[in-house]
C-alpha cells in the first residue's frame, strides 16, 4: 500500500464551499477558522508516523508480492509469470498479498468533562482527543482505509472529502452532557473502532455499548485522555468540587486528605476499563495531555492495525 503524502483537504474544502453556493459562505468561513489549524496539526502529527505494511498476510488482490505458486487447475494462462517459469520446467503464478481496506469508526467524547484543562497553558482534553482522532483519520485515509466518525452517523468512507467531513464534525458544537457515552450507530460488522474519552462518567452505559460493539465482532482501542491534574489531584484546603457541567458537586474541608482515595478510585476505574477491553479483545491505554501526542497516535495506529 502506498502512502500518499499530499494533503488535499484545504483545497477541497475551499472548492466545496465555493460550489455549494454563497449561503454556505459564512458557515465555511467559520469552519475554516478552526479547521485548517486542526487539520494542519493533525496532518503534521500524522506525517510523523511512518506507515508500515497493512497487508492481510494472505494472497489476494493487492500491489505487493506475496508468493509464487505452481500453476494449478483453473488458473488462467494469463496469470502465469513467465519470468519465473522460464527458470524451471514448471509454470508459476505470481500471487499478490490481499490488501483489503478496513473500516475504522472513531468515537470522540465531546461531553463537557472533556473541556477541562488543569493549566491555562495546556490544551484541554477535548482538544487533544480531537487532534488524535483527526490525525488518526488522516493516517488511515492515507493508507487507503475507510474512516468514519460515530457522530456523523454514516458508514466509514475513504478519501480526502471524508477527512473534511470528520474535521467539520469534530469542530462542530459539542454536547452539553457532563459525561459522554460511546456511539455505536453505523458500526459495521467486523470493523475496527476507536473510543477516545476520559471515561470519567458512569460505567454502565459504556459497558453496554462496548458489549454491543463486541457482539458485532468489532475490535478496537480505548484511549483514556486525562489531564495530569486529574491524575495527581494537587488540591488542598476547603474546596467545593463541581463537574464541568455543574450537575455534580462535592464539598470537602480538606481536599488534601482525599488525594490518596481519589487516586485509588482512578486506578480502580482504569483497571476495570482494562479488564473490559481484554474481555472484548480490545486495547486500552492512557494518554496524558501533557505528554506527546505522537506516542498516543502511534499506539492508536498499531492498536487498530493489529491482526489476529
Amino acid at each position: 500500500m502506498n502512502a500518499t503524502l499530499t494533503d488535499h483537504a484545504p483545497t477541497s474544502a475551499a472548492e466545496e464551499a465555493g460550489q455549494t453556493g454563497p449561503r454556505l459562505r459564512t458557515r465555511s468561513e467559520a469552519l475554516a477558522a478552526t479547521l485548517p489549524p486542526l487539520l494542519a496539526d493533525a496532518s503534521l502529527l500524522a506525517s510523523t508516523v511512518v506507515l508500515g505494511s497493512h497487508g492481510r498476510r494472505r494472497a489476494g488482490m493487492g500491489d505487493e508480492f506475496w508468493q509464487y505458486r505452481p500453476m494449478g487447475l483453473g488458473d488462467e494462462a494469463r496469470q502465469i509469470d513467465w519470468r519465473r517459469s522460464a527458470r524451471s520446467d514448471q509454470h508459476f503464478i505470481k500471487e499478490k498479498e490481499w490488501q483489503a481496506a478496513q473500516s475504522v469508526l472513531i468515537w470522540v467524547d465531546d461531553s463537557q468533562s472533556m473541556t477541562f484543562s488543569g493549566d491555562k497553558n495546556r490544551a484541554t482534553k477535548s482538544d487533544r482527543a480531537r487532534l488524535l482522532a483527526l490525525a488518526m483519520s488522516v493516517l488511515l485515509v492515507r493508507g487507503g482505509e475507510r474512516v468514519g466518525l460515530s457522530t456523523i452517523g454514516q458508514l466509514p468512507r475513504s478519501g480526502p472529502v471524508q477527512l473534511m467531513r470528520i474535521a467539520e464534525a469534530l469542530t462542530s458544537n459539542r454536547a452539553s452532557d457532563d459525561y459522554g457515552v460511546p456511539e455505536t450507530r453505523g458500526l459495521p460488522f467486523q470493523s475496527r473502532a476507536v473510543f477516545i474519552s476520559d471515561f470519567m462518567g458512569d460505567m454502565a452505559p459504556f459497558e453496554a455499548q462496548l458489549a454491543k460493539a463486541a457482539d458485532r465482532g468489532v475490535r478496537g482501542a480505548l484511549l483514556q485522555v486525562i489531564d495530569p491534574v486529574e491524575e495527581s489531584f494537587p488540591f488542598d484546603g476547603r474546596t467545593v468540587f463541581r463537574s464541568m457541567g455543574g450537575t455534580i458537586t462535592h464539598e470537602t474541608l480538606k481536599a488534601g486528605d482525599l488525594r490518596s482515595r481519589y487516586t485509588e478510585r482512578l486506578a480502580e476505574r482504569r483497571e476495570r476499563l482494562r479488564m473490559l477491553a481484554r474481555q472484548a479483545g480490545w486495547q486500552f491505554d492512557v494518554h496524558h495531555t501533557d505528554a506527546s501526542a505522537q506516542a498516543a497516535l502511534l499506539w492508536l495506529y498499531r492498536a487498530t492495525e493489529r491482526v489476529r
Binding site: 476520559d198 470519567m200 484546603g237 468540587f241 464541568m244 462535592h250 464539598e251 486528605d257
Partner: protein
C-alpha cells in the same frame, strides 16, 4: 510612664487593649477559611468520600497563635515601648551651657552642637534663661543670662578653637561668677589643671552635669625626621583596645594639585596610648609634604604641619678638576660633602646635568671658567632664584676671571694672585675671623679662635665692596662676599673648600655658615634663644577642625614666643615664615600626652552610658507587619490557594521579608567591586599581533569592521610576514588600548561620545605610539571634510583628542611605499582625501633624493572616508563580502584597497623604516669609495 524592668511604656493605657485578645481568639477560632470553588471532572470519582477529620473547619492553633502575636505586638507597639528608659528631670532657674571649645571638641562638633541645641530648646520650653560660654573664647565681663531662644540663634557661630583654654583667664572668669545656676558642661574629654578649680566654682552655683562624647580623642605629634625615616606618633587619651588609625601625608603633586601623597597605618596596641609609624619617603615626595593628618578625624590635634625640618635641600657639588688619585682629605669637595650629607640631598654630575636637575644650590669648588652655554644657563638659573656658592682655589687665583671687570657669576672683582699669610715664606701670622657684623647673615654665630686663614684671593676695592662683604678677616679683608643677581645670589668664599688655605672647613662654624646660607637645613627646631629678636608672620593657620587656611593679616609673632609661648588667639597653630625659613607650630608638641578627664563620682556624665534609650515602637510594629505577612501566606497555603504562580510570588515575598532581616552589609559587600581588568583580553591581544576596531554600538557596522580586519588579516598572512590573529572588538570605555598597534574606528552617527576617562585613555594611546584609523565611510557623497553627518560626528568625536596638525597624504609619505608602491588609497570608495599627520614645516627636498626626510615615527591618526573595511571584508571562505565598483575595475580597486591596508599595517609595525631608504644612495656612494 510605666516601667517594667528595662522596658518602659510611654502610653501604658493602650496596653488595656490586650484584654481584648481572648475575645479575638474566640472570633478567629470560629471562622474557618472560605471554601474554593473548583471545576473538576474527576468529581465523579469523589462522590461519597468523607472527610477524615472534622476539626479542620477551625483555624489551626499555630495560625491562631501567629495572629494573636501580631495583634499583641501592634497593641504593645502603639503603647510606645522604650528600652532602658531614662527619666529626664527638669531643673529650674538659669542654665549655663559651658563648652571647652578646643581642638579635641572638633572631632564630633556636630553632636555637641546638637546636644547644646537640645539643651537650649529644653531650657526655652521650660522658660529658663540660659548662657553659652566657650572656655577658649571667654566673653569679656561677667555671665549674662538671656532667653534660651536668643542664645540658640548664636549657636551656629560657635566653633572650636585649635588651642586650649588659658588657665589664667579661666580662673579669672570663674572668680567672677555669681548668682545661682545649673551648668551643663560639654567637655572635650581632656584633663587640664584649670578644670578642678572651675568645677568647684561651678558647683557652688548649682548642679553640674557633664557631657562627654564616647569617641576617642586622637592626636598627632609633630613629625620627626631621623635617619631618612619620617616618624609619626599618634596619641590617644584613653588606652582602649588595639586600634589602627590611618595617617596620610598631604601635599601637592607635580601638577600642583593637592592630594594624598602617602598613607600609613599606626597601630595602637591594647592598653597603649601611643602608636608610632615610620615612613620612608623618597626626597622628592618628602619635600612636597605640607602636612600629615589622621584620616577621618576632623580635629586640629590630628593634623601636624611640616616645616623646613622635613625638607632637604638639593645641593649640587662640582669641583674644578679631578685630581686623579689624590688623597680623599685633599679633595676639594670632601669637607662640603661631610657637612652637607646629613642635611641635604647631594647631586653630582656635569654642570649642564646639574642645572637640568634645578637644585636649590650649586657649590663650585675652584671652578674658574665655563663654556658660554653653561654660563648662560647658570645665569638663567640664578635669575630664577638659584644660590651659587663658589670657593676659591689655585685655579681661580691663577685665572683672569673677574679681574678687570666684574664677572657676571662672581660677587666681586678679584686682584690677581691673591695672598698668603703666615706661611713659611711670608711675614705675619695666619689671620683669624672678625666677629660678624649685624647685617651679615652669619650674625650671632660665635667665631672659634682656632679658625685661621693662610691664603685667600683678594677682592678689588670697589665702591660697593663693603655692601657685599658678609664675613671678613681680622684685618678687614673680605673672606665671604655675596651679590644678589635677579632672584638669586652668588656667594664667594675667598678660601678653598678643603683645608689647604684655611682651617675654616675643619671647624663647626663652617657647617653653621652653610646652614645660615640656607644651603643646608637642620631637623632640630630652633629654641627660643636662637629665635630671640626675630619676627615671624603666619603664612597658614589651622582652624579647630584641622583645615589649613590662609593666615590673612595676622600680626607678626616674636621669635621667642613662637618657640615657647602657649597657643592662643595671638599665636595660632600654623606655618610661620621668617627671613630664611619656615617654622611650623602645631597643636601638639613632641611631649604632649592626652589624659582623659576624671570626673568626680558626684557629677553625672552624659554620653558615656552604655545603655542608650531605645524606642521599640518601630521594631514592634515592623515585627507585627512581618507576622501579618507570614499569616497571609500561611492562610493562603492552608486554604489551598497557594498554587502555581502564586506560590512563587509568595516565596519571593517571604524572601523579601527575611532577607532585610539578615545582615544587609553582607549583601552590600558585593556591590562596589569595580570591573576588574580582563586578563583574557590582554593575553589574546598580546600573544599575537591583533588588529582592533572600536565598537560603535551599531551592530552591522561593527560586524563590517570586524570582517574588514579579518579580511585584511588574511591578506597580510598570505602576502607578508605579518600573521595577525583574529581581530578584536575594542570597547574604548572598558578595554585597555595599549595592546593594539592599530585601531580601526568607523564613524557612526549614533555613536555616543566617549567618557572623559576614555578620552584620557585614547590620548595616552595616541601619545604612546598607537594609531587610529578614522573612517567616515562617506567618500561617495563627497570629499572628506564635507558636511556629511559622519564628518560632523567625527569632528565632535575627535575634538578632545590630542591630534597633531594634519595634511592630505603627500606623494612621498612612507605610506606610499611601506610594502607596495601606491599612489591611491581607495576602499569601497576611491577618494584621495586621506589625511595624516603633517610633515614638519622644515622638511625639504634634498637634491637628487626622491623623498623628503620626513618625520620620525608613525602618524597617530589616519582620517578618510573610503570605507576601507567594506573593501577588505572577507568571509570565512575568503570571499569578499561587499561589492566594490564594477567588474574588473572594481576588483582592481579592491586589490589596491587591500594593498593600502597592508601598507598601513606595515607602516604601523615598522615605522619609518622605508623612509630611511632615502639615505640608501648616500650609503651606496660611501661604500663605493
Amino acid at each position: 510612664m510605666l516601667v517594667l524592668g528595662p522596658l518602659g511604656f510611654t502610653a501604658p493605657a493602650l496596653l488595656l487593649a490586650l484584654v481584648a485578645l481572648p475575645i479575638l481568639w474566640l472570633i478567629l477560632r470560629a471562622i474557618p477559611p472560605a471554601p474554593i470553588q473548583r471545576r473538576f471532572p474527576g468529581v465523579a470519582l469523589l462522590l461519597g468520600l468523607q472527610d477524615d477529620e472534622t476539626q479542620t473547619d477551625r483555624t489551626p492553633l499555630w495560625l491562631l497563635l501567629l495572629r494573636m502575636a501580631a495583634v499583641a505586638l501592634v497593641i504593645a507597639g502603639f503603647a510606645g515601648p522604650v528600652l532602658n528608659p531614662q527619666d529626664s528631670t527638669q531643673g529650674t532657674g538659669p542654665m549655663l551651657v559651658l563648652v571647652d571649645g578646643t581642638w579635641a571638641d572638633a572631632r564630633d562638633w556636630d553632636r555637641k552642637t546638637a546636644r547644646i541645641d537640645a539643651a537650649l530648646a529644653e531650657a526655652g520650653r521650660a522658660g529658663r534663661p540660659a548662657a553659652l560660654v566657650s572656655l577658649t573664647d571667654l566673653p569679656p565681663g561677667g555671665l549674662v543670662f538671656q532667653s534660651a531662644e536668643a542664645i540658640r540663634t548664636r549657636l551656629p557661630g560657635l566653633t572650636p578653637k585649635p588651642w586650649a583654654p588659658d588657665p589664667a583667664a579661666v580662673a579669672d572668669w570663674a572668680g567672677g561668677l555669681d548668682g545661682a545656676f545649673d551648668t551643663l558642661w560639654l567637655s572635650d574629654g581632656l584633663e587640664r589643671d584649670s578644670r578642678a578649680d572651675l568645677l568647684s566654682a561651678l558647683e557652688q552655683r548649682g548642679s553640674v552635669t557633664a557631657f562627654e562624647s564616647a569617641r576617642p580623642v586622637l592626636g598627632l605629634r609633630p613629625v620627626v625626621f631621623e635617619d631618612g625615616l619620617v616618624t609619626l606618633t599618634a596619641v590617644r587619651a584613653i588606652a582602649g583596645p588595639s586600634r589602627s588609625v590611618a595617617i596620610t601625608a598631604h601635599g601637592r603633586d607635580p601638577a600642583g594639585i593637592e592630594r594624598v601623597l602617602a598613607r600609613a597605618d599606626a597601630e595602637f596596641a591594647r592598653g597603649e596610648t601611643e602608636a608610632q609609624v615610620a615612613l620612608s619617603l623618597p626626597p622628592e615626595l618628602r619635600n612636597r609634604v605640607t602636612r600629615f593628618e589622621i584620616e577621618a578625624t576632623r580635629s586640629a590635634g590630628a593634623v601636624t604641619l611640616t616645616d623646613d625640618g622635613l625638607k632637604r635641600r638639593e645641593v649640587a657639588l662640582l669641583a674644578g678638576e679631578d685630581r686623579g688619585e689624590s688623597l680623599e682629605l685633599l679633595s676639594p669637595l670632601h669637607y662640603l660633602e661631610q657637612a652637607l650629607v646629613p642635611t641635604a640631598d647631594l647631586i653630582e654630575g656635569t654642570l649642564s646635568d646639574i642645572i637640568m636637575a634645578n637644585p636649590d644650590a650649586i657649590i663650585l669648588a675652584d671652578v674658574a671658567t665655563f663654556s658660554e652655554g653653561e654660563e648662560a644657563q647658570l645665569q638663567d638659573w640664578i635669575d630664577r632664584g638659584g644660590l651659587l656658592v663658589r670657593f676659591a682655589g689655585p685655579r681661580l687665583a691663577a685665572s683672569d676671571v673677574s679681574r678687570t671687570e666684574l664677572d657676571p657669576l662672581m660677587p666681586v672683582r678679584l686682584r690677581s694672585g691673591g695672598r698668603s699669610v703666615g706661611g713659611a715664606m711670608s711675614w705675619g701670622e695666619p689671620r683669624g675671623l672678625r666677629a660678624f657684623s649685624e647685617s651679615s647673615p652669619f650674625f650671632g654665630l660665635s667665631v672659634p679662635q682656632d679658625v685661621a686663614v693662610n691664603a685667600q684671593v683678594m677682592a678689588q676695592p670697589d665702591p660697593d665692596l663693603a655692601d657685599r662683604v658678609v664675613a671678613a678677616l681680622e684685618d678687614g679683608t673680605p673672606l665671604v662676599t655675596r651679590r644678589a643677581i635677579g632672584d638669586g645670589q652668588v656667594i664667594l668664599f675667598h678660601v678653598t673648600a678643603n683645608a689647604e688655605w684655611s682651617t675654616l672647613p675643619l671647624s663647626g662654624l663652617f657647617v653653621q655658615m652653610l646652614e645660615r646660607l640656607a644651603i643646608s637645613t637642620r631637623s632640630a627646631a630652633p629654641d627660643a634663644a636662637e629665635l630671640a629678636g626675630t619676627t615671624w608672620t603666619a603664612d597658614k593657620v589651622l582652624d579647630g577642625f584641622g583645615a589649613v587656611q590662609d593666615a590673612g593679616t595676622l600680626p607678626g609673632v616674636a621669635g621667642e614666643d613662637l618657640a615657647e609661648a602657649p597657643l592662643g588667639p595671638d599665636l595660632q597653630p600654623g606655618i610661620y615664615v621668617g627671613p630664611d625659613r619656615r617654622i611650623a607650630r602645631n597643636v601638639l608638641d613632641a611631649e604632649t600626652r592626652l589624659v582623659p578627664v576624671a570626673w568626680p563620682a558626684r557629677i553625672p556624665v552624659e554620653g558615656l552610658q552604655t545603655e542608650r534609650e531605645t524606642p521599640l515602637k518601630g521594631f514592634a510594629l515592623a515585627a507585627a507587619l512581618v507576622l501579618l505577612a507570614v499569616d497571609l501566606i500561611a492562610s493562603l497555603a492552608l486554604s489551598g490557594r497557594l498554587r502555581g504562580p502564586r506560590s512563587t510570588i509568595a516565596a519571593a515575598l517571604a524572601l523579601g521579608l527575611i532577607l532585610p532581616l539578615l545582615s544587609p552589609p553582607a549583601l552590600q559587600a558585593q556591590v562596589g567591586d569595580g570591573p576588574q581588568p580582563d586578563d583574557g583580553l590582554a593575553l589574546r591581544a598580546t600573544s599575537e599581533v591583533v588588529l582592533g576596531h572600536v565598537i560603535t554600538g551599531d551592530n552591522r557596522l561593527d560586524q563590517r569592521a570586524y570582517d574588514g580586519l579579518y579580511g585584511l588579516g588574511r591578506a597580510l598572512t598570505a602576502r607578508t610576514a605579518i600573521e595577525p590573529a583574529e581581530p578584536l572588538s575594542v570597547n574604548i570605555e572598558t578595554d585597555e588600548l595599549s595592546f593594539f598597534p592599530i585601531l580601526y574606528w568607523p564613524i557612526s552617527v549614533d555613536q555616543p561620545l566617549p567618557s572623559v576617562e576614555a578620552y584620557a585613555k585614547l590620548n595616552r594611546y595616541l601619545r604612546g605610539g598607537g594609531m587610529i584609523v578614522f573612517d567616515t565611510r562617506d567618500a561617495d557623497l563627497g570629499g572628506f571634510g564635507n558636511n556629511s553627518p559622519e564628518g560632523r560626528k567625527l569632528q565632535a568625536l575627535a575634538r578632545p583628542l590630542d591630534i597633531p596638525p594634519l595634511e592630505p597624504i603627500p606623494t612621498d609619505h612612507v605610506l606610499t611605499r611601506a610594502f607596495y608602491l601606491l599612489q591611491d588609497f581607495p576602499g569601497r570608495y576611491a577618494s584621495r582625501d586621506v589625511w595624516v599627520e603633517a610633515a614638519p614645516a622644515d622638511a625639504q627636498t634634498i637634491e637628487g633624493m626622491p623623498f623628503r626626510d620626513l618625520n620620525d615615527g608613525v602618524t597617530p591618526v589616519i582620517i578618510g572616508g573610503n570605507d576601507w573595511a567594506g573593501a577588505w571584508a572577507a568571509g570565512r571562505n575568503g570571499a569578499p563580502l561587499y561589492p566594490v565598483g564594477r567588474g574588473g575595475a572594481g576588483e582592481r580597486q579592491r586589490e589596491i584597497a587591500m594593498r593600502f591596508g597592508i601598507n598601513l599595517v606595515m607602516h604601523v609595525l615598522t615605522g619609518n623604516y622605508k623612509s630611511d631608504q632615502v639615505h640608501v644612495p648616500a650609503l651606496l656612494d660611501r661604500l663605493g669609495q
